[in-house]
Symmetry: C2
Amino acid sequence: MELPPNEPFPGIQDPTLLIHRQIVEENLSRILDKTQAKGVRFRPHMKTHQHPEVGRWMQQLGIQHITVSSLDMAVEHARLGWKDITIALPCHPRQLRRLAELSKEVTLQVILDHTAMVDVLQEYRVDVGVWIELDTGSHRTGIPVQDVETIRDLIERIETSHHLTCLGFLWHDGHQYAHSSSAAIQAEWQRTIGAVDDLKKSLGMRASSLLCSAGDTPAASQLADLTDVDEIRAGNLVYYDLMQWQAGNCSLDQIGICLAAPVIGRYPDRGEIVVHGGAVHLSKEGLITTDGTTIFGLAVRLHDQGWTPYSTTSPVIKLSQEHGVIQLDINSLDKYPIGSLIGILPVHSCLTADAMRHQRSLVI
Amino acid sequence: MELPPNEPFPGIQDPTLLIHRQIVEENLSRILDKTQAKGVRFRPHMKTHQHPEVGRWMQQLGIQHITVSSLDMAVEHARLGWKDITIALPCHPRQLRRLAELSKEVTLQVILDHTAMVDVLQEYRVDVGVWIELDTGSHRTGIPVQDVETIRDLIERIETSHHLTCLGFLWHDGHQYAHSSSAAIQAEWQRTIGAVDDLKKSLGMRASSLLCSAGDTPAASQLADLTDVDEIRAGNLVYYDLMQWQAGNCSLDQIGICLAAPVIGRYPDRGEIVVHGGAVHLSKEGLITTDGTTIFGLAVRLHDQGWTPYSTTSPVIKLSQEHGVIQLDINSLDKYPIGSLIGILPVHSCLTADAMRHQRSLVI
């Protein structure tokens, strides 16, 4: 059995994440036009890609400030040459030694939603900027934006510290990911901005110099004007994915990554092929489609320059640890002998990219 | 802010997978009593744990034959000293060079459900044992067990090859994972054994020497007698998880792993704590509980010797990339200051262990 002579990527032996440089750079240009070109800092969240080469493209585009979601990721990016890093996950005492070390190497920002860590950071002389995390509706971490007294208390505690600098307010409107209309996302954004303005008014003069940092891909993608805030930390919009596509925040051809998966089984009677490409590659994140079924990816045709969606829907319908089951019309199925590659657009690119890492990725 | 003086695992700084040696060894002893003690080979699936130390415990218990789910995992385990390895994922032509190399180092078995690869393996002189994969109802990979002609054809093709040895029939009753009663699992097992017996009868004399290899944790856990087959390849039963617990295949105290996650946020008003421990640690596999909600883990209290479940249910109710949100009664919540550790039993231990790897694990 020979592979077809024009089979793309003959060097790929195992599931491999393809990263499409042109799409990624276009996604970056679009957000830079809306942010840095308008005086808003774009501080991309590196958790989506975690890829040194994508980081270099960002540097070449003039990006100097980044967001990460763990101390480990901060240390890794400091090693890659980044000098200004926000860790957008609340820090805790078990990390103090490493936090203190890192704060000597780079300009470091942490987020807090309570006073307990202030004394600890002070005691260990950790020189960091502190963002006060607000809960603007997602109910994950953060002080409820209406809780003026707690926020005022935290600001005062930070301001009396010799090592901490209060930077301002940071939030992640995670609940934006549930919206699927531009109008709803715009309304939610305005609601949050209004609530933060009210907070600042209640806090009085001291709040006027505090900055605002927002972080979600839906608003960053849908809104034409982001100048209500000082900083945008979105990360997913670098790659996008089927979730963002379904929510209307990107087009299918703006999705910048695709899993190249070798075909390991052909089942024409079932209208299915099975690939080596499972939950440990794509993640087990599912997407509920309009007809109520859950899919784990969408198959696309690969070619040397990238990929092309099929005219008929070709979903990944089942996913176990290493296997993916893809529904495919019979004409397409005939084109995939054992060992050929099919592409899969991921449901949630952050989790797929974390699973694949740069070690199992290929920039095209 | 100091951590409580009796806080367990003071050395842990980041999410860490705890592996409880005593529980794992008891799980292993139980399956060895049912298999090797009765003349059935136990060829554990290493994909669940992928941990060199767990592998050594297996070797100390006399286990010499293993199953893996990828060629990469086979190469890794050959390096760890394993000499007899079945790759329970259909092979394909892109892997030929590495397959050929590995087949010179260890006794290697592959699985096939089509004739196309036979000529390729023959041409490249890959000396391997071949299991014919049967689809006994899970509709993932495998030849339908009723399709006698296709199976006969494949056996003949393998037998005429100079390099391949036909070992017998292998299947994975993936549909067993949907059952939650011992009787249903027993009935399904009997149905499969009956179908394979029918197949052997239809094939005639040539089939009498062929072996049978079965692979699911539900049957391996629920059935007292596994002597219908020659080999059991279950892997999950080494660790078990909430999925297997919900299905009645293990007790809660037979679950051998637990994610130790640092508390990063406390929200008494919501009855919730937030931990550093998210989808990149636990995986995004959800479990639908009897009341219809989806959970991503169950919180337990950690102590130096292991963990203890709470008397009230304490589920992980939301999971993002690095955050986990845990519902906790107010009395328990009070015991978790920022930076303390809480344990999380995983929904699907195979995916959690793959995410954490041995690099982020700790044997206790």
